[in-house]
Amino acid sequence: MDQNSSENAPLVVFDRIKLHEIVVAFTPERIAAFLDVTDLKADTQAPKISKMADWAITFGCASVCVNPVEVDILPALLKGSAVKECYVIDFPLGKLDIGMKAALTTDVVRKSHENRSEGKGLIELDMVINVGRFKKDPGYTLEEINAVCEAAGGEHVKVIVRSSELTEKELYKVSEVVASSKAHFIKNSTGMDAYGATPEHIRIMREVVGDHIGVKAAGGISDAMFCMRLFYAGASHPKLQTPDLFRIGTSQPLNIMSSMAWLLHNTDDWIDAGVIPCTICPYNQTGKLRVEIREESNNFCRNCRHKEFRKHKEF
């Protein structure tokens, strides 16, 4: 089918019955289990890391996701809990060479094991691919992913593909590469890219990787309704609704839990109230993009059934 036809519009409108089923399958407590509590800012300091660990333990979140430098404090904070440590590798640009990525991974894993002393399976690595190299040579990407996986020594690796910098065709391709690698998750964004998570990108990633590896959505996710739309896109089947196969990266875990509770009151009204489609569409986000991606986005918009909303770019 022609990608630009109105029948093939991006995932910005949701079947109300299906979305309802997803929403009512969750509670604030349950959604917490899917959250990677994240703060990757340059000026983050120890008290914030401590606070994040406290939230994650209190509410039963999946992991605390930080920069590698925090490996000297995070393991002790999470010790005795089931909450995993998550470290980003070569963040946010992904421009280290393969050997450096692997070395960094080895180092972080070793230190985490030493500091936590609770064995394997309590650490995750979110690595950023080299998008520039990928565009020329997908084989390079497979090589770097597998190198990091090897260095991780069996600890789970999530692969950040920076989907906002890819054409739709490239997103399909990179998802295929990740699916064929030793990684455990594909993840759309660093949260510092041109834009963050969109249901359409999560849908594509799940479509390609199937149900044998996980999909992690990240970037600008701060409320439960957004999470539900991402579940719809990437984990609509109940069997995919486990933290092993779907994950949400967020710096706003409390907001997500609080808004989840809101969503369970008047669920159908919230669903019916909907959202302005363009605000969750990847093809509306053209400001910071390269020319070829911007042109592709404009082409989608011209043929989209929701294009009347684009009268006002900012809604």
Binding site: S258, W262, W270, V275
Partner: protein
Amino acid sequence: MKTVNGGYFKRLLRVNLSKGTVESEIIPDSLLHDYIGGRGLGSKLLFDEIPAGTDPLSTENILMFLTGPLTGINAPATNRFTVVSKSPLTGTVGGCSAGGHFGADLKSAGTDVLLIEGKSQSPCYILIGNNKAEILNATNLWGKNTAETTDYLLSISDLKAGIACIGPAGEKQVLMATIMNEKNHAAGRGGLGAVMGSKKLKAVVVNGDNKTPVKDQAMVENAIKKWRTFIGEAPLTKDILKEYGTPALVKVINHYGTFPARNFNEGVFNDAESISGETFKELYFVARKPCSGCPIACARITQTPEREGKGPEFETIWSFGALCGVNDLESVIHANYNCNEAGIDTISAGNAIACAMELSEKGYLTSEARDQILGLLGHDLKFGDARAIVRLSEAMGKSEGFGEILGLGAWRMAEKFGHPEIAMHVKGLELPAYDPRGLHGMSITLATNNRGGCHLRSYLVSTEALSTPFGINRFSSDGKAGLAMLYQDLTATIDSMVACLFTSFALSPDLYARLVGSVMDIELTGKDLLKTGERIWTIEKLFNLREGKTRADDTLPARLLNEPFKSGLSKGYKIEFQSLLDEYYKVRGWDRNGIPGEKKLAELDLVSESSFLKSSG
């Protein structure tokens, strides 16, 4: 058996100013259980105590100051109080929530509810200390402004006392008069200050050292900790309100093209930058001055080269600024100070002036009125006149000349000049700073509001414009009837517990229920809480129906329904209002005339209260 084991002394002080008596009554557990306290309890008492058709400014009307179960328990943003009476501006149920520390002081005086009835022969004030009250002479205070009154009463009582008082506007029974506490916190809307003035009651002074009782302190502490955690981390309560106060909204609402300018003729104010939260902070901010026990700390002390005071809040900046076409923030601040000192509602005042500006520009004013304006200003009244908002707000406080006409409110004034269509109000209460043409959910919630055109009884702006708890399509009516009900019912409970509405930017219905339930020692889920809110909303609706309000009163000014914006980000959208109103009534279980059905009334245990519906056919 409905028992309540915490949050209350269960003490109502009934002060009869005609007889000069004070009696202490026990508040039944069932009332607290079914109406929580604050606004809910006040609305129920108002319904029970005054007959239909009572003149709000007569001896027969009552005025209540109420606390809630959370008052004085050291939970964040809960040391507020509620005032309830029949509104002289709207003729509907009237109620206001106010910050400061008066609420905590009233509770510490061992009083949950102060109910005032009758009328004093001469100016008086009420002094409440630990469990007792006196009626004292206030002749020397009559004519003084709210700051002078507060300072004097503090000097002769206790410097820590809580003081709520009226200014000259309340004394003169201006229909938009407020009750002020701590000089700058207003029980603002609907003219309850005029009710106080009609009773010749200048002030209420409260102080004491009672602690709000709770049964299981550990459980309460645990629930409070959760509140602190969530309020401490939600973006609006953690950062934005703390950094800029409510004026942060100026640019946001203007950006969406929903910032009514020039008496709702436009949805974008081109000079918004000059009255923005950022400009406010840079040029006039002195310090934060939070309400008692509030971590959000949105209130601000401000200063201009000539004067110092508190505020203005966002709504005031809008009403004297964009709505009047005024871009001079300093004049807006002075108009705000004038209103606080005189005890005038700034939203209604700015609206009335904007309405007068349009009447004047269109040539609808009488020559007598025009002469009065010329006498005050030296020229005709026009949009954009910064000096006018200062002079006219002063004149309204004194109720002199054209100020007296403005004090009638936009609706009565526009009627007087034969052009009611120029008044932007619902049920006589002037509208707030959110134009429903770009926020379609706000259309239904403003129109059906039991106290009239007010945003604080159901702040759907939170979701339609501020994406809290999440964003929705602001141009669609889908789902909005149900969401209006959700917000109305939840807000009814927030006003009844009595907490600041801003807590709803961080807390879910379930978190409210957990704390209220633990304090009152009752089983309460979020769903139960919303059912209680529905009961409160419905008793208020029944009050209004008994007063003769109909479906025709649940509407918006024709301008908002028939004239889409011609520019801005909300350009061209039209509200499908009548179908939305039908849907709203249906969702509430009311008939298409807005009359609650028998099944619904039985479900809410309001059958006896609704008996008048049968007798009136």
